[in-house]
């Protein structure tokens, strides 16, 4: 079985997954300390990762009912993400691997999101189209095998989850914004305002920055015309129309991607996959839609272990010198062949 670590953003994660893809434990320690800042503070995230990493590993082993003696390989997220945060997971994973003489399998975080779909008891077999939408990344991929993916389209600016966070902020809602927008939108009319759907963006790429700007101007105009509190009075309608625009843009791109790829299997991942409206819209698009449970959609280590099941370990002499990487490497998103 594989012990995997994931520390690319603000969740300290460790998981134990069997070689046939069963999740024995999936521990996610969320750092709520960032909510007060309205976003992730990298230095605070790194300090928390260091504090929590070893106890999270102990917890994952205990919950799985195993010890390090039962582990055959260590997997770890190498990037992309916050480098200072990634380095905690990397230093920890490398040290355990070296000290125990275990193979180390470095995993690309985005490949991890896709590999969440390979886990038991209900693994999805390629080929399929996968939408990954979170606060950190939003892209569409074609998945033909278990170890790589081809990017079909990606956001050119903000991530979908980031758009929801920013929208929530403009509406005076707490961070993270997605669940709050969804709750408020339930009482609103999605047709009350027409927010942009990025029609001008070619192909399967996406853009959410203009949407946020449109909301900003709409709020400003409402307050100007109807006096202070004008926008607040329409908050439910604004939330509903804003959420509709995010979901609609994603849905149209997914529909086109399935069409162009000639595939009828769709998988979704990332925190935005929890959005009820998005799930409902996408379910209408494909005969087979695969949505891992919520704890496997948001950042977690079980998905890293899942990816590692299909990837080669780093050669032992290179393990001590392995470094993290911050951004999508040229090969990672452009060609979809994370190593």
């Amino acid at each position: 079985m594989i012990l995997a670590l994931e520390t690319s953003c603000d969740d300290t994660c460790a998981a134990v997954v069997t070689d046939d893809g069963r999740v024995l434990s999936n521990v996610i320690s969320s750092q709520e300390v960032h909510d007060a800042y309205g976003g992730v503070v990298p230095e605070i995230a790194s300090r928390q990762h260091l504090q929590l990493m070893n106890v999270v590993i102990d917890d994952a082993l205990t919950r799985a009912g195993v010890t390090l003696d039962d582990i055959r390989a260590i997997a770890v997220t190498r990037g992309p993400g916050l480098v200072g945060a990634l380095l905690i997971g990397m230093a920890t994973a490398k040290s355990i691997a070296v000290a125990r003489g275990l193979p180390l399998i470095p995993v690309d975080h985005l490949q991890g999101h896709i590999a969440a779909n390979f886990l038991a008891p209900d693994p999805l077999e390629p080929p399929f189209v996968c939408l990954v939408a979170s606060g950190g990344h939003t892209f569409l991929a074609r998945v033909d095998d278990h170890r790589s993916f081809t990017v079909l389209g990606r956001t050119l600016d903000d991530a979908a989850g980031e758009a929801l966070d920013k929208g929530a902020r403009l509406l005076g809602l707490p961070f993270p914004g997605g669940p709050h927008i969804e709750r408020l939108a339930a009482a609103g009319d999605p047709g009350a305002f027409a927010f942009p759907l990025a029609h001008g963006v070619p192909g399967l790429d996406m853009s959410f920055a203009g949407l946020k700007t449109a909301l900003l101007y709409t709020v400003r105009d409402l307050d100007a015309v109807e006096g202070a509190g004008g926008a607040a009075a329409r908050a439910a309608d604004l939330a509903a129309a804003y959420q509709h625009a995010v979901v609609e843009q994603l849905t149209r791109r997914v529909a086109r991607a399935l069409d162009e790829a000639g595939l009828d299997q769709l998988a979704i991942g990332g925190g935005v996959a929890a959005n009820g409206l998005l799930r409902a819209r996408l379910t209408q698009l494909a005969p087979t839609i695969h949505i891992p449970e919520r704890a496997l959609c948001t950042d977690n280590a079980a998905m890293i272990a899942s990816a590692a099941r299909h990837l080669p370990p780093a050669s032992p002499e290179t393990v001590p010198g392995l470094d993290a990487y911050a951004t999508d490497r040229a090969g990672s998103l452009a060609q979809g062949t994370p190593s």
């Binding site: 800042y37 503070v41 916050l82 230093a91 920890t92 070296v98 700007t213 900003l216």
Partner: protein
Amino acid sequence: MIVLGLDTATADTCVGLYSDTEGLELELARHHRPAPGERPGHAQQLLSLAAAVLHEASLTWTAIDRIAVGVGPGTFTGLRIGVASARALAQASGTQLAGVSTLQALANGAVGDDAPVLACIDARRGEVFVGAWAGGTCLLQTRAVAPADLPALVAGLGGDQLLTVGDGAVRYRDAFGDTANIPADEDRRHHVHGLAVCRLARFAPVADRDALMPDYVRAPDAVRRPRSSATA
């Protein structure tokens, strides 16, 4: 006792392997010093150097009795790589842990006797981390100070020609005027030595793994990552 010492608080990556076990006396060290302008290579260097000293001594990881790590103060990311590695090595092998002050290791490595030493590590943002020791006795507790305060600090420690070492002493040499005895820039005493970490750790209390944290001295800046910054 076989002690593996690690320090990544400065730009250097420092490793020492010490043993006073009869028939296995060891004093080995490996250091990586980035060239001027080169970034520190803590993440790539630390375990590589540690594996190299163990290989040189024909020892395995399980032979180590105690893993010692410099807890700073110093660069935050570097410190975390050292502490995370030490903690995980201990987690993997059940070895004891000990944390030592990087400033004290710097002072300890600079003299062989009980003479007083002021250790200075560049804290960036116009400040210096300082601490002073005479043998095992602390003369000045770790703190961050402005370079302009350094001469008064030296005077308070007995003044004239106090041996003063570290990258902070080199960088702010001018601020000291002629109050301190600062070796030439290229003198090895300005660098942490892996064996100094080991020597101090022999007498340090065993650290609780989950309580072993860097001595940051400074609180984190609450700067959000750009993706969540205020809009428009």
